[in-house]
Symmetry: C2
Amino acid sequence: MAQSWQTVQAEVMRRITERLWLPGSLIPGEAELANELGCARVTVNRALRELAEKGILDRKRKAGTHVVKNPQRRATFAIPVMRIQVEGRGARYDHHLLERKTSQAPAHILSRMKLAADNQPLYLRALHFADGRPFAFEERWVNLHVVPEIADADLDTMSANEWLVNNAPFTRGDLSLGACKANQELAELLQCETGDALLEMERSTSGKEGSITAVRLIHVPGYRLLTEL
Amino acid sequence: MAQSWQTVQAEVMRRITERLWLPGSLIPGEAELANELGCARVTVNRALRELAEKGILDRKRKAGTHVVKNPQRRATFAIPVMRIQVEGRGARYDHHLLERKTSQAPAHILSRMKLAADNQPLYLRALHFADGRPFAFEERWVNLHVVPEIADADLDTMSANEWLVNNAPFTRGDLSLGACKANQELAELLQCETGDALLEMERSTSGKEGSITAVRLIHVPGYRLLTEL
DNA sequence: CAGTGGTCTAGACCACCGG
DNA sequence: CGGTGGTCTAGACCACTGC
């Protein structure tokens, strides 16, 4: 009668999908389930905690565990380093640094990175290639007050993306996804048509010393971000 | 000297971000860390397991725990029911069923849903509104062999999205995000310009009896998917 | 083979919060 | 207040896999 937490989880999922436990209903407490299934309470806890993290259950002290009414399923995307992403597709990776300067950043970047108005971040523009064809365009600001070492880095050999990932681990970050139209410049860089719809990803990351970098990635037309639920 | 798993996790993160433990390096074993930090091995295990799930550590039996070289950070998006999403923005939700029929599905849908060629799914087209303005367009196929009850559902009152979420919990699913251009029809439906860039989300879900539904969601221009890292 | 992580158990105490 | 989940502990056995 011994149970593993995966077994318990599967059994709980079965009762939910077979509608023995309806959305919104209260399910038995940990102790009761542990007793019924013949395992320790901690084991039940582990199983239920994961389902709560997935958004399938709602757990509150004293109130007990409920099946969520309108399940907000969560999807997890991997955000790999560009090189790994390209090589993972079986393609040869290349990148080209288009521009590199230290200058005033636009107001919306300063505010996103919470930088003082006189802070002059490093500004980079780069293209990532897969098998020699454009894969993504990158526009990036780096807070030199937090990672001054990047000023001396050879960003032609290792992309800023990769350099930062390996030299400035972050503790928090924001990410936003949207679509944008290719203007003439983007069309030339990505070798696509003006007006093409492009997937745009904006990220900003920070450590405990403050904002590290903000980046805007524009992917080539047809690019899709995939995941499982 | 007692430690909580959050404390342990924070300490490990500190050692990584302060580069005491470099990317690629082997960190002490659970037992050693537990001893050093003055807590039970299970507590260390809990802390490290979460970091491994986040893609910061790589754990292998016998090989030990390594700091990942090219951290593949993972971002988690909530995929709420459209109504909840709209109401969560403080707007009034509405939806309108544009079309509802049972018919042959295109080949790529049949293959995505792994349906037999003679399976005639339910086909739906609907618009979701926020404060009376278009928010997203939805095109959906539903496998009537798995959820025949939807044939009798009043999908004008409750959207198919919500009906399925509450009546056909799924166990697996795929999701893909991309960008597409508004054709004339989409432009009219979403009240935007032809050629506008739109965020497109495709989902397909299945239970143990097979594929449940495949849906294509096209969001209004300017819509962004947000998350934290 | 042997070392490392993965998990289970029983018991305990605590924190939160609904009634 | 008291019930519920959240967590810690010490010890144990197991599973995988590098050497």
